[in-house]
């Protein structure tokens, strides 16, 4: 371990101590960025954008389809009409082909301006042809949980050692971890103007732990256990049910 990393971890230690404190009020974050009533009045049909798998994409083939199936099932159960990502892709291609695609063939990088035009045409077509009011963007990411208070409830420390969602870590109780990284499911519902109407990020599972002088990391193929993904999906989209239209705000 380099000196700079040790210094960084030492700096993180107090943060982590705070993260281990019990969460007194879970679920205090409201994913709605506008009122629930207005959300329900505004959004009736949701288009799913292609799911973006961040870490461990190559080792988890079929994960995007699995997640989309779960998302669709959750969102439909909440009473919204869902338009799948295949519809998105058809319209994206239709707008993309005349322009030669969103990627710069010379540099191999995305051409931001062309991508903006294609995205705008896709959203317009989805709105006018499919009645889509908002799109659902779903992505996975890897983050340091110590910096995010909403993950405290997954961490527990006691005489018998440390656990994440009840699973023990192989570190002695005396060696509190300085840093824990986890995979996340991020969900955003955006209107066609780009405003975020609903946003949630939920942990899937821990993937790396730095504790004292030890470091543990799991294989990328284990980044997304089905039951953990389902739990994250439920957690992220559970609020979407909200109250009935016209009901009082929380």
């Amino acid at each position: 371990m380099t000196r700079s990393l040790r210094r960084t971890l030492a700096l993180l230690a107090p943060l982590f101590a705070a993260a281990l404190m019990p969460l007194t009020a879970s679920g205090e974050n409201d994913p709605y960025q506008i009122t629930r009533d207005r959300f329900r009045a505004t959004v009736r049909a949701i288009g799913i954008e292609p799911i973006v798998i961040g870490p461990g994409a190559a080792a988890n083939e079929g994960l995007a389809s699995r997640i989309e199936a779960g998302v669709r099932s959750h969102v439909e159960a909440k009473g919204f009409r869902v338009v799948g990502s295949d519809d998105w892709e058809v319209r994206w291609r239709a707008a993309s082909e005349p322009l030669g695609g969103a990627w710069n063939s010379a540099s191999g990088e995305m051409d931001a301006e062309r991508a903006r035009v294609i995205r705008e045409a896709t959203l317009r077509a989805l709105a006018l042809e499919q009645g889509v009011d908002a799109t659902l963007h779903v992505a996975t990411a890897r983050r340091d949980v110590a910096t995010y208070s909403s993950f405290e409830h997954r961490l527990a420390a006691g005489d018998r050692g440390l656990t994440w969602d009840g699973e023990p870590w192989n570190a002695p109780a005396s060696q509190r971890p300085q840093s824990v990284e986890a995979t996340y499911l991020d969900v955003q519902i955006r209107d066609p103007a780009g405003a975020v109407l609903y946003a949630a990020g939920c942990p899937i599972r821990w993937v790396a732990i730095y504790a004292a002088r030890t470091f543990q990391e799991i294989d990328e193929a284990e980044f997304y256990p089905a039951e953990s993904v389902e739990r994250a999906l439920t957690e992220c989209l559970d609020d979407l049910s909200g109250d009935e239209p016209g009901a009082r705000e929380r």
């Binding site: 409201d30 506008i34 505004t42 049909a45 005349p98």
Partner: protein
Amino acid sequence: MWRTSSERSGASCARRRRIRACAVLALAGLACVWSGIEPIRDATFEPDEDERALWAEAAKFHRAIASQELLLADDELDAYLESVARRVLATLGAADAALDVRVVRNPLLNAAALPDGVLYLHTGILARIENEHELATLLGHEIAHYVRRHALAAHRANERRETGALIAASVFAVLGAAGGDPRLGTSLVGLVATPILAAQSSGYSRDLEREADERGIRGVAAAGYDPSLGIELFAILERDAAEEELNARVQDPYYYSSHPSMTERVASSREIADELRDEAPRGATARDPAWTVVGDFEARVHPLLLPTAELDLALGRRGAARRGVERLLRATPDDEAGWMMLGRIHRASLARPESFAGAVDAYENAVRCAPESADAHRELGLLYHASGAPRAREVLERYLELAPEAIDRALIESYIAGEAGSIAEPGVEP
């Protein structure tokens, strides 16, 4: 002199109102005397020992706001706001006191006076205010907090929350906003990075808020403004509260928390305004010389309307965005940028037939106002194309004429070539 029974009743009501007002001010005054807090009177004012800590926190806040480039740079607007503020300040017995009015780019309805005499006004609340009388009422309330040193009073009384801690927490929130909560997303970072204003406007007890209302309105009337027009501010805020569009985390802060309820405020403010009207020169109205304004409020506030609408739209507050743009267009119906913005607002809900029609109307007006605008032709042409309107081809071709190097040229040409295959009317279920 003979009086009708209603006049007698009115006079008696006015007397009761005066007695009640005196009681409120006397109680507030007594509270200040008990806590040893004298109002600020002039530029020689020196803060108490414990007040210096509040000023230090306020200074940190100013630096944070400045470093995030949230301040609006409009010298003319600043000068105008300060002239109105100073006019009110003089009537509150502190003519020469330090005062600095700053405008923050933020669409939420909020304003606050910090203990060191810096007043922050959000562009959102300025864009909602309709005249100088209302502006003076808003400033009067905040200046009353400042002159009466309510931050210190709250700090000493430790009323539920400790003001110093609030300021510190707010500064931390400003500085730490980019770290954010992963569940909140990042769209609001920067837009809501001024929670100290919420803290300042919600951190006072109801009694202090009432006192600020009472003294503010009296000061505003003494400064030559029409209090009955000024208190329409509260009615606007009350109406907007009913249409409040954000969640609990980022809601418009001005009329929440410990502020007395807007209904209560409107009622009590109206009583004071009525009483002041009784005392005003007979028949005085806003049009009479008895009530005067110092500048052209509309002209000063107009440049704020479009940027504020833009921020509202980014927050998903389409109603607020639309109201701002429509206000602009009522005053300047040939403003192409206003029509383009209105079109964008409608496009955010294009699946609704009424929004589609609204967008077409907005872009038709934009083309009318700016016949050489490529963007206006593009948007209008795309909507015509979507609805199969016969003019789609002509308008899209005009767009390509006006913007021959357009990045979407090939896409537009494909639309023109396939005009027969235009997409369905909006609102049609698949």
